[in-house]
Point group: none
DNA sequence: AATGAATGAGTATTCATTCAT
DNA sequence: GATGAATGAATACTCATTCAT
């Protein structure tokens, strides 16, 4: 990488880092492009050289943050699978969910930022577009999980949809509002519900 | 009602009606107070005479629209109960869900407007505050439904939370994005999931 | 006084009382006519029946408050004169100044309200117009004081002007800002300055 | 200075000049930011690029105008001191006062604009903050003047306070209202009063 | 004498975006 | 690649005043 190209990376990364800081502390709509370039120490025009507009930098941040969550979850699942080669599908799903939920619980600012963006729609994009989250073949991973034990499903896509919608919605509201109970209290009920949902989709 | 008071109602209703039209066609943030008063044919100050600010008129619209959905659902449940006095709890819940979902399906603009406002948080407010939705004693209704057949529950509040979060999130995304399938296709899976969730909460 | 006329007085007095409360707590420009009529418990139109506009009610309040300050000062001077029939002119002036300053010191809100209105311009109006402050013949009182001991003056009007401007300006700033010292500390210097000024005007 | 930087100065100066013109003809509160940018021939946003808000441009104008008054007064005093090395303190003070008063008399609009801002509070700020009025070390100048002849004072700060309050208040009212006499008529009395005040503070 | 609904002109301020340098 | 001065449309909200009842 040449020195110029390196410098370019530095400015871009500074914009990403500072905008994330501002979005999570002041809120997205209360953060202006001016705020971002001031924090990043670059000129206004520079922002528009690297990103189309505010939504563009937001999309990049979402992809980047989600990638991290999924990679961690994926690694944790692999470790569980190594220790226990015959995990039922529902337990694998719960391991992934638990990984993501635990990471989010430690970082409420990230929850607030991802807001409602971390829903099924996002996974569909990731599912279809292998380049959205580089290095994470979401489709293959999911297909591998649900067919690992020779199970057959009524509608595996709608099963995933149902589970993701339930998790994303309930966990988001609990972390953001703190009601109707703590995440620790809710988790057993949530995981039991997931197991029950998986069961209804099994043929 | 005197002529003045009648006139007053007319202006207020005109503001509510026109703002709803604009919110659902142009979007909330793309609708300015100026747009609203122009459509309603009143002066700017008049808006602020009847409503505190933009959020205030939005809140009134949400409450009004939700009230209608719940009233209709409540009536439909009553008719079912009359025809079949021994309905299981899960079927009662599904009747209510089905009523609301069907109404929303006919009115995607309403879904878009209610956005994520029609979630558990809203029902909690309605649950606690009898005056939020006048004439709908949400708490009593829910308590009556879940205890109607002598059932006992692990945690009835978290059961309601889980069901509402699942329904609101999945139905919202399907109606808004049309993916991953139609509401008609999804309903059976959704209702089976609800039945399974209720079962996990039964002692 | 008939019952109707009594009622009229009540509303008017309520407007005066509440507007003074609001002016001194929220500040004049931050107090709207709406605030006043809400506090007074009357309709907006009623305000405009009793007062021309905001400035009109402010003028009435200034006159009323000043009248009280001057009446008290006048009575105190009379008591001193009774006890000591041969008071020099400068001491009489200082007695009046001290009375007003002491009253103002106890009521900083009044100082803030009177702001810069309690200056020479106001006394000139009172001096010329016997009806501005009913019952206080300012001109006669001043003429009586300065000629009481057979003194003759270079220019008695400019003497009064100089003294009033010095007192009103310095006392206002000290009470409002608390700088450069307390009123107690400043008084001896102020009174010595007044004595010195009077001396320069004596022929 | 580059062309861009020059252009920048031009816009800023245009805003300062035009806002001063408008403030002194229409009054401060009757001059809107729109008025200012229209007169200056720049866009609205440009105003907020150079100044924080209306008060900010007012503060800049006050500092700028005061600086000019003080610089002129300072130069005149120096000339007098050169001609007469043993001027008494009171005469030095009167020379400064006379300089400022004469300048203000020629420019009643400036008096109206400076309003009550040119009082002791302002000089205290300038006294403490050497950067408020660049190039005018107010504190040093005053200290030099009052100690030049080996005089000792009861309280030199309160002496300055008393004199400034008297001058600013009386001169302001005469220039603005024209009463109770002309400035020419008043000056001898004012200067005699100042001399008398200085005398009372001398130990 | 009193009401209070209705007015609408008016104001400060923000901010994404551009483009000449 | 980078700058940052300049833009100007857009917006929410206020409030003194009126007048039909």
């Amino acid at each position: 990488m040449g020195k110029a190209e390196e410098n370019k990376k530095i400015k871009r990364n500074s914009l990403l880092l500072q905008s994330y800081k501002l979005f999570t502390t002041k809120g997205i709509s209360d953060t202006s492009i001016s705020d971002i370039v001031n924090s990043a120490g670059v000129a206004k025009g520079t922002f528009y050289f690297y990103f189309k507009d505010k939504q563009d930098i937001i999309d990049h941040l979402i992809a980047h943050k989600s990638e991290h969550l999924l990679k961690t979850a994926s690694e944790r699942l692999r470790r569980h699978e190594n220790a226990n080669p015959h995990l039922p599908v529902e337990e694998k799903i719960i391991i992934i969910a638990d990984s993501i939920i635990s990471d989010l619980e430690k970082d409420p600012k990230l929850v607030k930022f991802l807001n409602r963006n971390l829903n099924f729609g996002f996974y569909v994009k990731a599912y279809q577009d292998e380049n959205l989250i580089p290095g994470i073949p979401v489709k293959e991973a999911y297909d591998r999980i649900i067919s690992s034990n020779g199970d057959v499903w009524k509608n595996s896509e709608l099963m995933l949809y149902t589970i993701i919608e339930l998790i994303s919605s309930s966990v988001h509201d609990i972390i953001i509002s703190g009601t109707p109970c703590s995440l620790t209290t809710y988790k057993p009920y949530l995981f039991d519900s997931i197991r029950a949902i998986v069961e209804t989709f099994r043929i």
